[in-house]
Symmetry: C2
Subunit: 212 residues, 2 copies
């Protein structure tokens, strides 16, 4: 119940509502690499990611993973499947240890959907995701790899060295080799510098020029 409250989604619920919600919610822990759901599994619950990094991906015929979405806490994951009552269109796996809360959707619908405040929160969560996807499109289809990396660094200044480079490469839809070369290029341009902890921004406005 405390876990539910920490999620901005539910912060406006009173204790009674929270207790009700807890009665059909379920907290689960996962290890790095474990699968949250597989493509074509049935979707019965709303899933809130509250800890860890979760990737949603498909595999093509050559067994390449296509990462559709990478979720950080706190997010609502793959709500489409539950809302539409269809099977999961992709698989989800943890890239770190993680924790989720599963909320039984039938009960949720019955008990909470009439609450306008709740509905509005839900809308916002979805539209946030829409914005995220639109950004992914703008980032990946329009910009070249240097610009993509520059924008990525610019946006995540603080969290710059939290992902492995090959994960960043996946996220930016380029190969690790290209990423490595692109980092080097930005160092040569004196926009970044590299020390024992990884890369650090040296000239933030210079980065901006590359993608705007």
């Amino acid at each position: 119940m405390r876990d539910l409250k920490q999620f901005y989604f539910f912060e406006n619920l009173d204790d009674e509502q929270l207790a009700l919600l807890s009665s059909f919610s379920n907290k689960k822990h996962f290890e790095k690499g474990s699968i949250l759901f597989y493509e074509k599994d049935e979707a019965k619950s709303l899933i809130l990611l509250i800890e860890g990094v979760l990737k949603v991906y498909k595999t093509d015929q050559k067994n390449n993973e296509i990462i559709m979405h990478r979720f950080m806490p706190i997010s609502l994951v793959a709500e489409m499947a539950v809302l539409e009552g269809i099977l999961y269109p992709a698989s989800a796996a943890f890239e770190s240890a993680g924790v989720v809360i599963e909320i039984d959707f039938e009960r949720f619908k019955k008990e909470f959907l009439h609450n306008p405040q709740m509905a509005l929160l839900f809308f916002k969560s979805l539209s946030k995701k829409i914005k995220y996807l639109e950004d992914v499109i703008a980032l990946n289809i329009v910009l070249d790899s240097t610009a993509r990396l520059a924008k990525y660094i610019f946006d995540k200044e603080d969290a710059l060295n939290t992902l492995k480079q090959y994960q960043v490469a996946e996220h930016l839809h380029m190969t690790p080799e290209t990423l490595s070369r692109t980092f080097k290029k930005l160092v040569i341009l004196e926009l970044l510098e590299k020390d024992s902890n990884g890369y650090k921004i040296k000239n933030k406005e210079g980065l901006r020029v590359l993608f705007e």
Copy 2:
């Protein structure tokens, strides 16, 4: 009011509710090329596209248009801005004559958000858009231009020659030159044939092989 009812979104409303909704809704007609809203305009209404083709785009420093989204009827457009109460993050223009219904969001929120059925419809509409965007990502980032065109043709068999080729090229994020060459390739592979009305599918399952 009849216009509202035709939108699947509202088909479950009774007459009283529809009348109420009409009282703060507004139907507007637009000519080809006209602007529905500009980037940084204030968003006060929900916008339903009920006729025509609407593009949502940004322009970069070189004045290239980046098309974020192309809407066909019947869609809910750019709801994020209203939901979050922020300025439009992109501009929208009609590529054909068009009709929209604008619904005052404040009133909508007050009158309808407590209706669970309505809320659920709203959710579905948003999640439909999420799915669309995920498809755009899967289509454009992962597939090469031949596969993109094959999938496009496969999905729109009937509406194959409704857009100009340069519009299709935009949609598939390739140049008209590349599109032309790719069409030719598919004809050589005997998956398509070309007659006076344009291209026609000759081997549909053959097309599928290219993108699956």
